[in-house]
Symmetry: C2
Subunit: 428 residues, 2 copies
Amino acid sequence: MLLSQYFLPVLKENPAEAQVVSHRLMLRAGMIRQQSAGIYTWLPLGLRVLRKVANIVRQEIEKAGAVEILMPTIQSASLWQESGRYDDYGKEMLRITDRHDNAMLYGPTAEEVVTDIFRNNVKSYKDLPLNLYQIHWKFRDEIRPRFGVMRGREFYMKDGYSFDLDQESSTKTYFKMYEAYLRIFKRLGLMAIPLKADNGAIGGDLSHEFQVLADTGESQLYYDKAFEDMLNQDTYDVASLQKLYAAVDDEHDSANCPVDDSSLRSARGIEVGHIFQFGTKYSNAMDAAIDDANGKRTHPWMGSYGIGVSRVVAAFIEAFHDDSGIIWPEVVAPFKVGLINLKVKDETSTIFANSFYEKLLAANVEVLYDDRDDSAGKKFATMDLIGLPWQVVVGPRGAKEGVLEIKRRGTDEKQEVSVEAALDMLTA
Amino acid sequence: MLLSQYFLPVLKENPAEAQVVSHRLMLRAGMIRQQSAGIYTWLPLGLRVLRKVANIVRQEIEKAGAVEILMPTIQSASLWQESGRYDDYGKEMLRITDRHDNAMLYGPTAEEVVTDIFRNNVKSYKDLPLNLYQIHWKFRDEIRPRFGVMRGREFYMKDGYSFDLDQESSTKTYFKMYEAYLRIFKRLGLMAIPLKADNGAIGGDLSHEFQVLADTGESQLYYDKAFEDMLNQDTYDVASLQKLYAAVDDEHDSANCPVDDSSLRSARGIEVGHIFQFGTKYSNAMDAAIDDANGKRTHPWMGSYGIGVSRVVAAFIEAFHDDSGIIWPEVVAPFKVGLINLKVKDETSTIFANSFYEKLLAANVEVLYDDRDDSAGKKFATMDLIGLPWQVVVGPRGAKEGVLEIKRRGTDEKQEVSVEAALDMLTA
């Protein structure tokens, strides 16, 4: 992508309204812009990251047997009246009246809609287990939206819903999702600790939340350091993981902690996922039933599984940044390479940089090419700010000698290499 | 994908509420389900098609220089008050009040939001031309939603917005989009006639709509048959195309038609795209200005460019179906191949079918494999209904002899071929 034809409105100064680093850097790096409180437009750079995170979540969840659907954002209030949550939900629910005076709402979650789909379309135990998910926009009318997309009102979430014949099968599905979540965060390169959690308003008694570690995280965590080794394995020992201690600070009592000090880690965390098993709460309330093998009407056991996809983007930045800007891991970087032509008016430089750009495109390397007529200082600052994993610099001297300067973002090591060597490094 | 693990709730009977063939077949083939009037969930099969259409639109629009962003679905009413459209828009706009009593709305389109982004982030003529687009959900509170996703309330649309320094540059961008639209519809395999159109409420005086031909289309079109040849060329002669006659029936006057009868075609059409040039209407109203080369504040010329992506899915079905169901063109088919194992209890059949399934997956062929224990009649009917381009049937006799039966959907020709020959046909 040529930067001259892209839309990357970077900011030199820290915006006054942004209190956390991810919010500051997402604004400064031209990833998002606020439309109104807690509601954002995703600009090209941000959207690329959002989509990469979503795709990794999608792939891993599908490997674990979930099937993708897309439910509407606007839902009927009547479904929520059936489940009994319409009144409970309070002011965080964005309530809407349509032109025919029907009570509608912008879905903050979709247990009711998916249960309605289930009861209208699934009739037999033979169709179970069924695990449906979507990655879609949700709305929660937070009283004080803040921290950018970390606590926004309109946000992007993966929400999955499972239906099983009985508790045993449902629990199996639940831990399949638990494992899939660990795999997702590992693939993303984030250390995510699973904590036993309260089911809260959603009901039921089996629940875990997943907290990504980052120094600037919102909550204080305490956990057994054995997590760190076990989460780094290729396969997970779920039974053992479950027994490990982990708690947020208001549930942690150091006097009665089962883990001794030498094995206890404390760190800041950001909640990025939450899974629930809630039994027949919704299938009973909404009378979603199937025939079991004996022809008896049975209400399936359900679970739901959320990942805050837009929140994960912010969590990445909280975990990976320095004073100059973001440091993207390759797995979700908006582009792998930032190519800088230092002096576009120098013909040799421009021919050389253009040719290297074409070679990267031909090798399917995602590259953002700063081909603008601007100062070297500004170009370097922009590249550091947007944090692409590799920076490649073409200057007049190097161009004459046929060499490029290559730098890994986040380190200060620069190397001068030939075109061939650079291509080898960037396509490895 | 194994059908036993998929979610494909097909209907044997025509749903009473569905009046047009695309609505009927989308319900029957398990592509969509209604949540409330004009609001649908996209089930797995439908979502795959929706995404394929969106991806083709995305690729072609980006080749023509547009850059992707994602604006929120919920917008501030204040922006629409600035543009003057808040009161004009009437009851089709879904108006919302948030918990702090702010007037909001579910965006039916995004001229105001994108103009706001522009005025806050673009300062100089050097950043022009700029062409931003999104593919996102919109809401129009239709008084009588009908025909399924053809005239729904929540719908999926590609909407693009261009900013140019002056009329000349804006007109160039406009016709670049005009060409990109022709290219999109050609790549989709749909014959789309561009008709000069009214700008209506959006303002301005240059506008075209694109009508896909289908016998069951909503409007009656008259057009010069020269379109058909010219739209089939590899490059478009936009100047000549523009001079050709095309009109919808209420604008067509056969007594004064410039085309003689022998060259005039009449056909039914479905509007799937609409492009507008509206000059400085919004940049003036919202004071979005940049500095021109002389440092003078200038309001850019704008255009907007829509394609109804969810509507295109329905248009495909209107154009490609028979009495048994949908006939998907390969370019947007949810899967390329439907593989049927006629007798799952026959071990030879199942080993043979499984092995062929694995070979298709290994060759990256998208395949839906009916591995369920069900009658042959039901399996054939389902495959015909969902309309995958190729059907491959494994039966006990063929499995013993190592041959498959292969059929192109929409024809009655069946061939018995070897595994190798089948793979050659399906990977060609």
